[in-house]
Symmetry: C2
Subunit: 313 residues, 2 copies
């Protein structure tokens, strides 16, 4: 397939890098200020090299990607809340042109799912978004294969930064501020870690899952969300004396979404360590399925994007 | 899709039972002696009720399923080794008629993979076999999504009976013969548990995985296989003193297949308990993915069969 990639952060860059291995061609790649466009396939290495060097990625306006002869738009611009712009408009434009859309941007599917499905219904293109939930971990495809109707709930850990912090606090007996600073030094936490530690990032993913299970109807405003900022080291010590630990656990059902710190068995499936993510998919016919892996990262998330591209008709 | 189901054991029955939930219709269902066939869809409940009561499932010869107007053959007859008959001939016949084939029977994909792929290449139908590896756990679809080329190895536990026995031996300090008898009472082990405890069943699954990774070339004869019959209770005790336990671990790479009892960390990912299965998929770009769940059972395996049907063109 011919891909147009919007967003040249870690995910967009990795998709451009790996597309060829999956038998696809990148005909356009844009960051927020420039685009490289070429009908016969752009030279992704060269374009990304220019960006790396501080030069424009390409000679076009970003909007030029929509004029490229692409089959599928890869929307990998940063997630925004509320109106989910400009991501939502990008998706709208591609669908209006009867092209497929593969999202790595969580905003449109978390905040405006119902509108998105309406636009998709009116388009010859379809929308896929495995990369928005759990990076390389096959979450949405597993639900699709079991059929969403037969899945009763999805629980788990879908924020690696929060999980890293809780893991380190428990293992080293360190307090939150100390471990957060360490995580920032390691590049595991961003300079502004708010959305990771206050539960917003995990909540967006569980909102997407609730939309998939229930056929829509949810946005971030419907989620009950608590973060990990106020978990004291002493709570982790107490938990440990009882063979348990604390994780930032989310849950999506047809009834709603909850995310917050929860006690879980120290050696149980949900107590993944470090930045690892896990989902536990409860099914009616097939018991409980656990999928775990790296929930973030450029190549990891790009793998999910390209798996979606492979599933387009 | 219209399905013809060969085999009316736990898996075939569950596929017949659940097909409607997935939007498919069963036009033929056969056990080893009789078949029910109806162009407008058979009454699966009634047919299975007759079988339950000791009466013929239907009024046709089993071969009559091939004359039904089916889109996909579900081959769910018992796995056989060597020539993998009669399963292989069933698959051959359906492909010769340009129909799709979904296998729950491991024989043809473990023992005659290359021939099967040749027959598929000459047919308008395609072959899928998620149900042959790990029941409801998405194993082959995860590899397909990452692309087989980017998967370097698959390891894990793919026999629930052996895992149950080792789990009980470790937890209760009981010996192999005692736990095996208990497992047989519980219906977890069959009257003749040979293929489960000697590693053959797990090896067949890892041979299938090696074929998927390497594009064919493997059969059971190429696997190095040890079973759990000779694992003494004392070995589990020694392992436990060191924070480890013993599991029947298989490994598939492009170089080959090995299955045998191995020491693993007691609280590590591979030490699943009871009849649970787990695979660890090592990828080049996306790290290590762990998928676990119920690796056997009628509805669990039928879920995988129907997921495959959903992925047919």
């Amino acid at each position: 397939m011919d891909l147009a990639i919007l967003g040249a952060g870690a995910v967009g860059r990795s998709v451009a890098d790996l597309a060829d291995d999956y038998g696809h061609r990148v005909v356009a790649l844009a960051d927020s200020t420039h685009a490289a466009v070429a009908e016969e396939g752009i030279e992704a290495d060269a374009a990304l090299g220019r960006k790396e060097a501080g030069d424009p990625l390409g000679s076009h306006e970003p909007e030029a990607v929509f004029d490229a002869p692409y089959d599928a738009l890869v929307e990998a611009t940063p997630t925004t809340l509320g109106d989910a712009e400009p991501g939502f408009s990008h998706v709208e434009r591609a669908l209006a042109d009867d092209r497929h859309v593969v999202l790595a941007n969580k905003g449109p599917v978390a905040e405006r799912y119902d509108e998105l499905r309406e636009l998709e219904a009116a388009s010859a293109g379809s929308v896929r978004f495995e990369a928005t939930v759990g990076g390389a971990i096959p979450v949405l495809s597993t639900i699709e294969d079991c059929t969403p109707e037969s899945v009763t709930a999805v629980r788990g850990v879908l924020n690696g930064t929060a999980n890293f912090i809780l893991t380190r606090m428990a293992a080293e007996g360190l307090d939150y501020d100390h471990v957060l600073a360490e995580a920032q030094d390691l590049g595991v936490a961003e300079a502004d870690p708010t959305f990771d530690v206050d539960g917003t990032d995990a909540a967006l993913k569980f909102v997407i899952l609730a939309n998939v299970l229930g056929g829509g109807g949810f946005s971030l405003a419907d989620a009950t969300v608590d973060g990990i900022q106020d978990v004291p080291g002493s709570a982790l010590e107490l938990a440990s004396e009882d063979g348990r630990t604390i994780r930032l656990i989310g849950e999506a059902t047809r009834e709603g979404v909850r995310v917050g710190p929860r006690l879980v068995p120290e050696n149980g499936a949900l107590a993944v360590t470090g930045t690892r993510n896990i989902v536990q998919i409860e099914t009616r016919e097939a018991g409980s399925l656990h999928n775990s892996g790296r929930g973030a990262g450029g190549p990891e998330t790009a793998t999910a994007v390209l798996a979606d591209v492979g599933r387009l008709d």
